[in-house]
Amino acid sequence: MADLSKVVEILLGGDKDKLIAEVQANLNGGADGKDILNEGLIKGMDIVGEKMESGDMFIPEVLNCAMNMSAAVEILKPHLPEESGSAKGKVVIGTVKGDLHDIGKNLVAMMMESAGMTVINLGVDIAPEQFVAKIKESGAQIVALSALLTTTMAMMKKTIDAISESGLRDQVKIMIGGAPVNQDFAEQIGADGYAPDAGSAARLAKELVA
């Protein structure tokens, strides 16, 4: 197998053009697409994750690495077998009805994308019916609900109830987050999980579909 440590190193360096050039060079040199993905890019992103946890890398740097990785994956796609190209889970995410806060939710969406998931970001002020319709349409496995207001926490429960009533509850895992909610509340309203921040949200999403 080709030495892919340089891909890892360049990924960590954060320069997109260099990364793409290196991936291309490896392909030209006959390296296997799957190896470049697993031993180069994914290995690099694992290190990025560790560095974020340890406080050595900051959010904008993490997002930059993730975006560069996605660009590199685009180049790899023709060289990957079908099944490894498919995303590790499809997520429908939105801020519940009555709530306009979206900074945290968008961060969660970005981190999930970085983790290789397909994310459908509905936006803010999303009614239960809109979530239901999107789950049906997209066949998502995860629904992520965000609320920052105490007054909109109840809307999370209503959304979960609507998903149950529509008969889709068994198809999806539901996770919630946002400043006023916590693990207890998640259990109380019948969600499958809660995460306090974007990094752990992406990890939780991966666990839920594993």
Partner: protein, 476 residues
Amino acid sequence: MFANFTQITPRMRVLSDSQIKEIHLGACDILERTGSLIHNEEARNLLYSHGAVVENNGLVRIPSYLVDRALNTVPERFVLCDRDGNRAYRMETGKTHFSPLVDNIDIIDPQTRQRRKFVAADAARMAKIMDYTRHMDVVQVGAFAADLPPEIVDRVNIREMMLHQRKAISFSPSGPDALLDVIEMASIIAGGREQLKMNPYMMKLGEPISPLVHDDHAIKELMICAEHRMPIVYYPIPMGGATAPATSAGLLAQSHAESLAGLVIHQLTNPGAPFLYGGVATVMDMKSTVCVYGGPELYLQCAALSDIATYFHLPFWGTAGCTDTKALDTQGAAEIGMSCLLAVLTGANLVHDVALLDQASLVDPTTVLFCDEVIDHVKHFMRGIQVTDETLAIDVIDSVGAGGNYLIQKHTLQNFRSFWQPTYFTRPAMGVSEAHDLIKALNEKVIDIEENYEVPPLDPDKVAALQELEKKWLKG
């Protein structure tokens, strides 16, 4: 004496006039070029009829002359009254008032010193503390109580503030209809609609959504306030690196553009209606992703906004006295102290978020008293130095002479009482080894106020009128 004609009250600036001008021109360009998303049809139509360009998706490009016009019609000052109608709180040059949030998601219970959910009964308890303080001039109602229906918690908490304390009130209503109810409530206290216009007792909080978005309800409420001449602060919370540029100048230009868009709509709706300019100009912490409530960028960028407000003769809404920690600890005390001093030095007129802990999610009556002491300290400093024959005291110095002492001077007797004396802080004599537990003492004071302090009741006719009005919204 000639010097006292130019007494300088301590005042700090962080932007030069030419820097302010550049930021302002940048903001005008943002409004014309990038545009603002205004999710309210009435406002879009109003802007369109005055020459703004409106695109199909709700993007509005506001030409600079509308900005100039709004800056010309907005009043330089307004005055807020207390419950008794005294014109006590002046939003004008040289005056700084402080405003803590009285309700929140959680509260530190003074009896247990433990954190728990804020419930309806806590509103009256906080009101009493507010009334008691020396420097909390405007109570800010956020509309929280875990045990009340979300649709009415705003008006319930406002009613509690009307009943149990006498300072002016600022508030975030749950929507435009609720705002109309609150205006009626305020009219009862002020003694009528016209009275309320001339002697405003309440002020509304509203927020654009950075970057450059204006929500339907926020704009509707902005226009209602303009029509009723109820003072409003329409302030963005730009977070550098997340919802605004990571550089201060760019963040300020965007923040200014967001405020100006609101101001233009407000002044077109009713020229001359009172408007407070402001912004929580902060950054995102790029490790934890929290919105920073205590830190040098927040202080500096808010100081810069204050300079911009001063340049355009607008009253300014500051942010200080809050901290990122989860309890009034050493870091909290440092952040509260620094920010309060900076807020007055930069000339903010109404400083909000005082005494807020843990990402603006936690209130603590003990921290309110702590802030009251810090502000007392700071306000003393702000008196500056008066130079007169009496204060220069050359004759006294001469009569004491080299090697004398001042303790028995009549001049000392006449003047030492104006030294600042701490109320809660201590200055123990040397040799006292036991350290004073300030937080414990403040907490005891809180309990003492709760048990023993009486707030004069609201006029029974007004109470009855509020109760009558309540029938309308309480069932809602």
